[in-house]
């Protein structure tokens, strides 16, 4: 049993866990941070923390979910330390989108659209839509009310659809 071996500190078991969860962990860190180098650092820290704390894992949740939550929490902590999650007003937050602007390469996949959202809005979309966090959990994570989290999610998704439509029309014009 890989987990039991890992809980005894077996490095080969840790490597198996990396092979199973490393990519998913990296994807999540990349979506939350929006920067590849930073995502690598976050995955690095997440695995070190997992290796230090796996002995306390009791199987209350599936291991993958437990580990992804650990990665998400580390990523949010990092964003908070960098003041990317400072509590600016909602209007000010979404005005940042215009400042960031569309991807110059004209990419229109979901990840490139996500990258155009401000950090807090992007984190809420990723955690709610892809990782299954509830609004209650997001409210606790960001120290805000559930209605605040719901408002940001709704506005962020609407903005993503507008950005997608805009990117699609630009592509058609180019053709």
């Amino acid at each position: 049993m890989t987990l039991a071996r890992a809980q005894r500190g077996d490095m080969a078991a840790f490597e198996e866990i990396y092979r199973c969860y490393g990519r998913a962990c990296f994807q999540l860190a990349l979506r939350l941070s929006g920067q590849r180098q930073l995502a690598e650092d976050l995955v690095h820290e997440a695995f070190l923390k997992m290796m230090d704390t796996i002995s306390s894992y009791r199987g209350e949740a599936p291991f993958g979910a437990w580990f992804k939550r650990l990665t998400a929490n580390l990523s949010i902590d990092w964003l908070r330390r960098q003041r990317h999650l400072a509590d600016t007003g909602m209007e000010a937050m979404f005005e940042q989108i215009a400042a960031i602007g569309p991807d110059p390469a004209g990419l229109v996949d979901a990840d490139s659209l996500l990258a155009q959202l401000p950090p807090r809005a992007r984190a809420i979309v990723v955690l709610h839509e892809l990782e299954g966090y509830t609004h209650a959990e997001l409210a606790a994570l960001f120290g805000q009310s559930e209605s605040y989290s719901k408002s940001i999610l709704a506005r962020a998704l609407k903005r993503l659809h507008v950005l997608a439509a805009s990117a699609a029309s630009r592509t058609q014009v180019a053709l």
Binding site: M11, R23, H44
Partner: protein
């Protein structure tokens, strides 16, 4: 479009697959493993240092306690030893004439008993009495040895 109908999965389904690569770099695991092992070694070193320090402290405390106990209680030991030797001496037959060495020891014992009595009379503390009892014990030991030799040579 109604806001409630919006979700990321529907949006992503209508968009091309992600053009960016989401694979972590190939050397990420070796870096993680190296950092983990280095931290593990550091922690083990710290634990060993702490354990060594604790062991040294326990040894020092044990030594101090033993020294203190030893230093605090010898008077009782010497006094008890002197009394035990005296009983052994009384059990031997009294010699007709004392050997010169035995006479010396008896003289010294008489002088020492005077000192001991004087010390008790003036209420001397144990640290002043201890050396006197130790000396008495040594003299009785010597006297016992001489008497035993004399007794066995007569046999």
């Amino acid at each position: 479009m109604n806001e409630h109908e919006l979700n990321l999965r529907d949006l992503a389904a209508r968009l091309p697959a992600s053009a960016t690569t989401h694979m972590p770099p190939a050397d990420l695991w070796p870096r993680i493993a190296a950092t983990h092992l280095a931290r593990h070694r550091q922690r083990r070193g710290r634990r060993l240092a702490i354990a060594g320090g604790a062991l040294a402290l326990v040894a020092a405390l044990a030594f101090t306690a033993s020294t203190w106990r030893h230093a605090a209680t010898p008077a009782i030991d010497w006094q008890a030893r002197a009394q035990a030797l005296e009983l052994q001496l009384d059990a031997l037959p009294t010699p007709a004439a004392s050997e010169p060495l035995a006479r010396l020891a008896e003289t010294e014992l008489a002088r020492l008993d005077g000192n001991l009595q004087a010390a008790y009379d003036r209420g001397a503390p144990p640290r002043d009495l201890d050396p006197l009892w130790q000396r008495r014990s040594e003299l009785l030991d010597a006297l016992l040895s001489v008497r035993r030799q004399g007794h066995s040579s007569r046999i």
